[in-house]
């Protein structure tokens, strides 16, 4: 009997593993849906007014459609009218003016043949955020949404006052002074040379998106080769990498750009702060009458360097964004949409929009970069 049961179970189990799941292209009947105008404008007092106008693109297309003939005005609550002019590139409209704090703005966009597009938002009143001196005390934190362990240390952000309607986003950053001012460019000539050396078509198309632009992170090219070539042909990947980095152009800039900061992991450690879904980089919170925010700051390289007394002279920063209601709703739903995009059990997430007669976002915010320490 024992023998029989064992044989039986073995056959049953084999049957189970012999018929695995299958994946195939899905035939969906995509109807002709009308394109929607997209307005995107996240504004803060440190940057001049800038707004992008485009149209939604069908997923089967690969080129964005920009709107170049719009009349764009922003009307401040004081009655001041700020006109934004088309820059001639990628649907971007700009003005030399700066948004001001604690002031409401109304956006009006007129496109021939389209109803007037409107939206309203404001930059919240500035609240100074500071991080008091702290000692780095590493602890393990299990993020309940993805059940992964992170090495983190707690820190606290003080607002110096009671914030009645607090809406904050926090992110952690690091800056490498040795690499942070370098810029890299892959030229079209080099790309063609790589193609002749056997670069596959899909990797070519991916690299072409970055060609002829000054890029902060030189390793992004290697990541593409790793993703699209490495598993097919290890030797080819090595050869192409060698060719690429041999011809990669380099320059040094004097300005510390936002893009040159590297992202790290940050969690909320307070009742009013949370990360959305599987995202571990942005902590979001809304609350009334708060004076501080407790966070958990994580950086695996820093932990390793400190354990091995290997200082890299990297700077560690905290970004605190004080957001308008629309800004925080936009980010919360945007991150959730991305996080849940391939989850079969999730309901679809519509990203928050406050644009009338179109879609997109028009929302104000304040940004502060808080220096923490160098190691």
């Amino acid at each position: 009997m024992k023998k029989f049961i064992f044989k039986y179970l073995l056959v049953s189990f084999s049957v189970f593993v012999t018929f695995p799941a299958c994946v195939k292209d899905m035939e969906i009947d995509v109807p002709e849906t009308s394109r929607k105008v997209v307005v995107t404008c996240l504004f803060n007092p440190q940057d001049k007014w800038e707004l992008t106008l485009s149209k939604t693109k069908n997923i089967k297309e690969n080129v964005d459609i920009y709107i170049e003939n719009a009349n764009v005005e922003i009307i401040a609550e004081t009655g001041e009218i700020i006109a934004l002019d088309y820059t001639g590139e990628n649907g971007v409209y700009k003005s030399d003016n700066y948004p001001e704090m604690n002031r409401s703005y109304t956006l009006k966009v007129n496109i021939p043949g389209h109803n007037e597009i409107t939206a309203e938002s404001m930059v919240p009143d500035f609240v100074k955020a500071t991080v008091p001196d702290f000692e780095i005390k590493w602890v393990k934190y299990l993020y309940p949404n993805n059940l992964m362990d992170y090495d983190v240390f707690p820190l606290q952000v003080n607002f110096g006052e009671t914030v009645q309607d607090a809406r904050f986003l926090f992110r952690s950053y690091y800056f490498d002074p040795k690499e942070g001012y370098n810029r890299y460019m892959l030229t079209t000539d080099t790309l063609e040379k790589l193609k002749k050396a056997g670069l596959p078509e899909n990797a070519y198309l991916e690299l072409a998106k970055l060609a002829d632009q000054w890029i902060v992170d030189q390793w992004i090219f290697d990541q593409i080769l790793f993703k699209l070539v490495f598993f097919e042909d290890f030797d080819l990947k090595q050869r192409l990498s060698h060719l690429l980095y041999q011809d990669l152009k380099q320059k040094t800039v004097s300005v510390r750009e936002y893009e040159a900061f590297g992202r790290s992991v940050c969690f909320g450690n307070d009742y009013w702060l949370n990360n959305v879904s599987y995202d571990v980089m942005t902590t979001i919170g809304e609350a009334k009458n708060v004076t501080h925010a407790k966070l958990l700051y994580a950086n695996a390289n820093l932990k390793y360097s400190m354990e091995h007394n290997n200082s890299r002279d990297e700077e560690f920063w905290l970004e605190a964004i004080q957001a308008s209601k629309d800004y925080i709703d936009y980010y919360r739903t945007y991150i959730l949409q991305v996080s849940q995009r391939i989850n079969p059990y999730s309901e679809p997430v519509m990203v928050h929009s406050n644009i009338n007669n179109a879609t997109g976002i028009f929302a104000g915010y304040n940004r502060q970069m808080i220096y923490l320490f160098t190691y």
């Binding site: 049957v15 404008c41 362990d149 997109g360």
Partner: protein, 794 residues
């Protein structure tokens, strides 16, 4: 009430009792199985000369008032030999009937009562276990809940899932009872197998409309599952080995003919392979991951005859799933030796216990008193330890994290059956104490930095009073009117809900019956879910002052037409409205449950309507059916889809089910079922745009462990659920080979699920090519599943 009215009422009642006392006698007793002496529920007893009849209650008790004199009784129950009895009676008489099955163990006729029986009222089906066993089984698992999806108006959710959607409702709107106790999560393996072991069950009563007043607390259906009482005459053992689970059931007498017991156990054996192979294959590595998975069910029931009029029942069910992973990693670096270990255990399951006392008072009144408790728990336990040994000594850090959610129901109920001449009144009362723990996390750490967060436990109370009167008006007209008063304690303040129920049957002639029903229902609890699939992570929460109970109204019209003894047609139409249904607000999910959950959800409404058609052909060896439902199902929330109504995810316009069960010989039975459903409603964004302030970092999906592509683009859609996935259909086949040997009965069941390997979409996801073009990929998880199971009974 005035004195005149009161006097009139007393006079009327007095006359009623006197008239009935003068002219009628009462025949009462129990109807039982002749072999096992189990009580038979819903057996018919009919007095032919006066055309009066009734059916036995859940404990086999009947009471029939007939004129004194010659009495001619016919007692019948599907699958049993009819019993006839004639006698003269001048006074109330007690008669117990014991019916014999048509062919005892070798009974091969499919007792597809639900598909054959002339319906008593619209919306009610009684399913016996032979019906369930005769249908093709998914992966060899005969399943009570899945067998319901054969019926019109009942739809399956995801492929393979045991979650059922009844007339536009969602799975949480089904009141699933096991011996009268609610089962909150009725499935194993994330929804693929139901918790009910068919060998331990006697019958299932399924209501999708015309709800008796004794049922309350859910909007869309009642699935009342009853365990067997156990054979009172001789011991009996069932043993089944299947690809997913193996089962053992044993029953027998405690005291011959009087008291009995039943014990049943079911467990998967797959984990022996999964865990074993993982251990063997990774034993030599420094990194070891040992996964574990199992499910189990335990049923036990004991019944004792205290005296001929009093009986005591004790029943218990415990079942659950375990999923575990044990990760170990050892490495040395720079003179230090590190050992890491992460143990994750997920466990969830139901526990149910009930104590029931049935009493007979005189010949007309029967009391069923019960005390019960049921709970569902879901726990995640994660323990991490790391020890580092170097020249400075040994350091150990650890964290112990536990997440738990729980719902518990304790109930006392008194249910009376009162048999009067020409009508039967059922009335009673119940009181409930419920507790909910909607998500709590506790973290303990090596350094004493312990934390706890969550909503805390919520307790509430409920009271109910109900009455149903089934009145026969003449020979052809039956009316069942019911009224239920529910009182709910919603956060310290009592709210009452009166829900009327009406059920009418008009037998126009012997071949044609017409039906009408109207129901109001209330649901004082909600299920927080992102999936509608019945995952253990779904959280039950009570209705509150802010998030009120869900309510529904349903009206149905139907007919039953019998063309001849073999061929019949049944039609039902329904219109249902639902209010107070909940949905997470945009941007929220079950991951935010540590916050105030009431702020995470919004309430809306639902509307469903449809037409159900059922053609049935039945001979002594063949039972064939065609069921077709045409239906619509919508939801409406202020914050979703711009406040406009949108199709519910499981809105399926067409639902067709064709099938037959054929006894080729006495020993070979074959069956086939073909299911076709319109594809699920889906939101497939076919447009996108460049995000402002794009996410420029990686987000990894927890379930698939895939890095999500195109995080810098926002998917855009105008309407929720405006697309349809491809149609869902599959053909399932089954052959059962039976053999009766001396004292042993054995059965091989060979089946194929999805015989022509239809690739039905289980999930879909977008994938962008380097050129920027996005295509949707569909994943099908059950292209074809053959199965074989072996069953013996002795």
């Amino acid at each position: 009430m005035t004195k005149q009215n009161l006097a009139f009422l007393l006079f009327f009642l007095n006359n009623l009792v006197q008239v009935s006392a003068q002219n009628n006698i009462t025949i009462s007793g129990f109807i039982r199985d002749s072999v096992s002496v189990e009580n038979l529920y819903h057996a018919t007893i009919y007095e032919t000369s006066n055309k009066r009849g009734t059916i036995s209650n859940a404990y086999g008790f009947y009471s029939l008032s007939v004129p004194s004199g010659k009495v001619q009784l016919r007692v019948s129950f599907v699958g049993y030999e009819e019993h006839r009895l004639s006698f003269y009676a001048q006074t109330d008489t007690t008669i117990n009937f014991e019916l014999s099955t048509k062919n005892d163990l070798q009974e091969v006729v499919v007792k597809a009562q639900s598909l054959k029986q002339k319906p008593t009222f619209s919306g009610h089906e009684q399913i016996n276990m032979q019906t369930v066993k005769a249908l093709p089984a998914f992966a060899g698992e005969e399943d009570v809940l899945k067998s319901l999806t054969v019926l019109p108006g009942v739809q399956q959710g995801y492929e393979g899932s045991a979650g059922v959607f009844v007339r536009g409702g969602s799975p949480d709107q089904n009141l699933i009872l096991l011996d009268g106790v609610p089962v909150y999560n009725a499935t194993h393996l994330f929804g693929f197998v139901s918790v009910f072991t068919p060998e331990a069950l006697q019958s299932v009563d399924f209501y999708k409309g015309g709800f008796p007043a004794r049922y309350g607390g859910r909007l869309s259906s009642v699935i009342d599952v009853r365990m067997k009482e156990g054979n009172k005459n001789h011991p009996e053992t069932d043993l089944t080995i299947g690809p997913v689970t193996s089962k053992f059931t044993h029953q027998g007498p405690i005291k011959q003919g009087k008291s009995s017991y039943l014990i049943s156990a079911r467990r998967t054996l797959l984990d022996l392979f999964v865990t074993g192979i993982a251990k063997i294959s990774q034993a030599s590595n420094n990194e070891v991951v040992v996964p574990g998975l199992n499910l189990y069910d335990l049923n036990a029931k004991f019944n004792f005859e205290l005296n001929p009029k009093n009986r005591l029942y004790v029943s218990f069910y415990g079942g659950g799933d375990r999923l575990s992973s044990n990760f170990k990693d050892n490495y040395s670096f720079d003179g230090s030796e590190t050992k890491q270990s992460t143990k994750v255990k997920l466990k969830w399951g139901n526990q149910i216990g009930s104590l029931r006392w049935t009493s007979q008072f005189g010949n007309r009144l029967y009391l069923n008193s019960s005390l019960s408790s049921g709970s569902f728990r879901y726990n995640i336990h994660n323990k991490y330890t790391q020890s580092i040994k170097n020249q400075d000594g040994k350091e150990e850090i650890w964290s112990d994290i536990e997440y738990k959610t729980r719902v518990n129901n304790n109930k006392i109920q008194f249910l009376f059956d009162w048999y009067l001449p020409g009508n039967k009144i059922q009335f009673g009362t119940s009181a409930e104490l419920n507790s909910y723990l909607p998500g709590e996390q506790e973290i303990q750490r090596y350094d004493g930095q312990n934390t706890q967060r969550g909503n805390g436990e919520i307790n509430n109370k409920a009271l109910a009073y109900f009455v149903d009167d089934q009145l026969n008006i003449g020979d052809n007209f039956t009316v069942q009117g019911g009224l239920r008063l529910d009182l709910y304690d919603l956060g310290g303040k009592w709210h009452n809900y009166i829900t009327p129920r009406v059920n009418v049957k008009w037998a126009v002639n012997k071949n044609l019956s017409l039906f009408f029903s109207y129901d109001q229902m209330v649901q004082p609890l909600h299920l927080l879910t992102n999936s509608s699939v019945g995952l253990p992570s779904d959280i039950w929460v009570p209705a509150t002052e802010n998030v009120k109970p869900e309510t529904s109204q349903q009206i149905t019209f139907g007919s039953y037409l019998k063309f001849n003894d073999r061929f019949s047609y049944k039609f039902d139409s329904y219109y249902k409205t639902m209010d107070g249904v909940i949905n997470y607000k945009a941007g929220n999910s079950f991951m935010d449950i540590y916050d105030d959950w009431e702020a995470l959800v919004e309430t809306g409404s639902g509307e469903a309507w449809g037409f159900e058609n059922s053609w049935n052909y039945k001979t002594s060896r063949l039972n064939a059916w065609i069921n077709y439902t045409l239906s619509w199902n919508e939801r409406k929330f202020e914050g979703i889809n711009g406040g406009k109504a949108f199709p519910f995810k499981f809105d399926r316009r067409h639902d067709i089910n064709l099938g037959f069960v054929h006894n080729l010989t006495d020993n070979i039975e074959c069956s086939a079922v073909w299911t076709y459903q319109t594809g699920m409603a889906a939101t497939i964004p076919v447009q996108d745009f460049q995000a402002a302030g794009p996410i420029d970092y990686t987000i990894t999906d927890f379930i698939t462990n895939i890095d999500i592509e195109d995080t810098h683009r926002i998917q855009y859609f105008d309407e929720y659920n405006s697309y349809r996935l491809p149609a869902f259909h599959h053909l399932d086949l089954s052959v059962t080979l039976k053999k009766q040997m001396r004292s042993l009965y054995r059965e091989w069941k060979i089946g194929v699920y999805n015989a022509y390997a239809r690739q039905n979409a289980y999930m879909y996801y977008p994938q962008t090519s380097p050129t920027g073009e996005t295509k949707y990929k569909q994943v099908c998880i059950f292209p074809i599943i053959p199965s074989i199971s072996y069953h013996i009974k002795f």
